[in-house]
Amino acid sequence: MDNSPKTENSLTIYPFVVPNLLISYCCILVMPEKQRGRYAALAIAAVVIVVGIPLWWKTTETYRAWLPFSEISELDSLQLQLSVDIEVVFSRGTLTPEQQKKFPLSHVNEKEHQVDVSIPELLTSPSTEADLSLHMLSESSCGSVVVYVIPESSTLLPEDVKVYVGQRRTALLRSPPFKTSWNLKEVLSNLDVEVEQVVSTMSFGHQDIVAALSNRVRMTKVTKESMADSMRAIKSSPGYEITFSLLNPDPKSHSLHWDIEGAVQSYIQPLLNKLAPIANFSVDSQILYYAVLGVNPRFDNSVSAYTLSADSLSHVINPVEARLGSNAASSNPVLNFLLYVPDAHHSPLFIRDHSKRKVPSNAFHSPRWGGIMVYNVNEMYGPEAERPVDININMAKVMGVFLAQLRLMLGVQHTHPPTGFVLQSPGSAGLADWELDRLLWSRSVENIATASTTITSLAQLLDQIGNIVINDNIAQQVSSAVTSLQSAVAELEAGNLAFALQYSREAILASERAFFDPSLLHLLYFPDDQKFAIYIPLFLPMCVPIVLSLLKIVSEAKKRRADKQAKSD
């Protein structure tokens, strides 16, 4: 490893010594005595200054490959422009004929893009068929949103529902009330607000972007919900490990069977397949026997069951976590999902929330760690059953809960949809297209922010510490990270979400690899006084005679000139 600072190269003495000796011998042979000393000293000094010092400097400097510092400092002031393709389609009856006539065929502002006025066929009730047919009408690309505006009095949507968001990238918006006498501008401005709300739900809103940039941007208004949201979703990472564990504290009473492979294939894998552009997922499962929770549940007489209160939940996981294990080879973050079947003496076991009510799913989750679900089996067998009792776990119910928790933890779930909105559940697909888009937007922004912070801090670090060696591969990683970042920003501006995400992923991979390269260790800290203490005994005895002899030559020359002056006078 070429971490040697200037002090470790003792071979640099040789360029000083050898030529000097040679020249001295030459002078001895050639010159008359009187001038010998003078010319020898001059020659030695010349060799030292011309050859020695540059050679010493060159051989003791640390190798630093060139880095694009100017481009990196540009990245520091990052300005992102995100553009979403929005198509607003007006259905028959939303506009009066006069307004329709005056409609501009293409109206572009920074928020909307109306393509043209088309009149689609609509079925009578909003259902998956309607949604599918709407999707067929306009095949929307990744990141775009299509809003269909229906008349205010339409019966397509129930009374109190303003917006219906489908599984794909389409939404039905009930037109806000407006008078027929209004001119086009007022209609459009009224509609603007509604469409903006729809788009911020389906793509991104101000809060989402601020949360994604949270490690760069100061969060000015931190509400409890926003902070809770930002802490719940796991940070962007190139890969994740998902582990399902079945905890059986009482194998003597219960012999549990769970078809985890099938359940993962049918419930979890579709979601993970859809999320493939974001990260690599690896799923594994295990069964732990005699694993007890850290807290003794209390028996509640009113419901004749054991309960775990919300306060004790913090300590439930700790003793189990020690036994959970993880894949030793990868350093990806792990999401653990535990399924706990209480032992026969502590069944049934219910979880109570802060207001002492039973949690319906009987599960809770911990931000960035995972989730745990308690599965009661006491009703499946009577007291006379032969121990151990064979129990097949209903994977559909379990996976429903785990899937919801997984969506929350990956940041997919939209926690607070605005009033009047109905979001169609994604069902077996696991993930609606627009939810995926939301995640892609926030992930791209987060990746770009993180990568740019990493690169700028790396550049700062390398600038500050002159002793670190910068190898070629690091310079290459940094350059590729910078170019990927620039491409990602450009793609975001153009609205190509898929490409933007891909470039941002490349950028973050390259920047992490560059920052965490093992060779960038600033290990040797040399304070200045130590450097001088090492060099002075080495160079001083040699340089002092040279300097003094030069001074002597100068003083002699001065004296001779003064003599000449006196003589000529």
């Binding site: 976590e321 093992p518 260790l521 600033h522 290990l523 006084d529």
Partner: protein
Amino acid sequence: MDYYNLLTTCAFIHLLVSIPYAYSNYVENKAGQFFSSGHTNNWAVLVCTSRFWFNYRHVANTLSVYRSVKRLGIPDSHIVLMLADDMACNYRNPKPATVFSHKNMELNVYGDDVEVDYRGYEVTVENFLRVLTGRLPPSTPRSKRLLSDDRSNILIYLTGHGGNGFLKFQDSEEISNMELADAFEQMWQKRRYNELLFIIDTCQGASMYERFYSPNLMALASSQVGEDSLSHQPDLAIGVHLMDKYTFYLLEFLEEVHPASQANMNDLFKVCPQSQCVSTPGHRTDLFQRNPGSVLITDFFGSVLLHDMKQLVADVSSQKPKQKDWHPPDGFILGLWTLILLVFFQTYGIKHLKHIF
């Protein structure tokens, strides 16, 4: 003669360099972004830096902190334990597979569930800095890495032999306080911690946290600059000192803490006053955003996974660290050499050097 004296004094004045310590403004701006953040996971890095049988007490120190931290809930996967020597299976240990912290062998801190990540000669300054900054070779297994994120609270405990501004590793190398401060700054740049608690039990331990300049750091040391940290009790059967005073009383304090306890940092600062410890323990909280009274012990020593989002109080108290001793400025040795040279020439006179030419 006079000219030389003038030159000397000029050189000295010229070399009086003053290093500015006023980073509090910078810290406030940087850490303000995180003043209301909480943590979601806990990590601990526990390092014992001395080897040889007579440094038994350092290994016992580290193992007692390890034991407390495990008892309060941090799992092995989140603890990086570095022990420079193996005392439990040392040839000179009359009770093999044990490391005691009390005389009369009351408490065996080795236990039966110890996972040492870096052992023996693997405990070096380089490996320690690599663990902190994350610059490990790709082949390093997960258990040897500090995989913290921006919501991790990290506890770092160092013990061994130290001096003014350095800590000795393995009797052959040392880590300086500047390197440690730079490592923490790199951790901050990459957001590898939310808050960090640094505890050091060595002689002149307070010098190690003097140079910190990254936000959200709290530091405790067992002795001030110029003081030695003393060991506690020898055990006549084992034949060595078992623990250091500061960590002994720290262990006593931590044994009273349980996972749901509400003890806070102000109680930790009171551990081992001078009457018990002989040395004066010190602490540094000016870089820490929260009020120490509102920081629970379990925020660092335990692992409380699911927690309420408390509205944390941003109380930035800017205390500059008290400099008890005058430290010679940098470049002191340069001045010393200049002085030596001048005296040399003055004594021997330039005229004698004529004979060389």
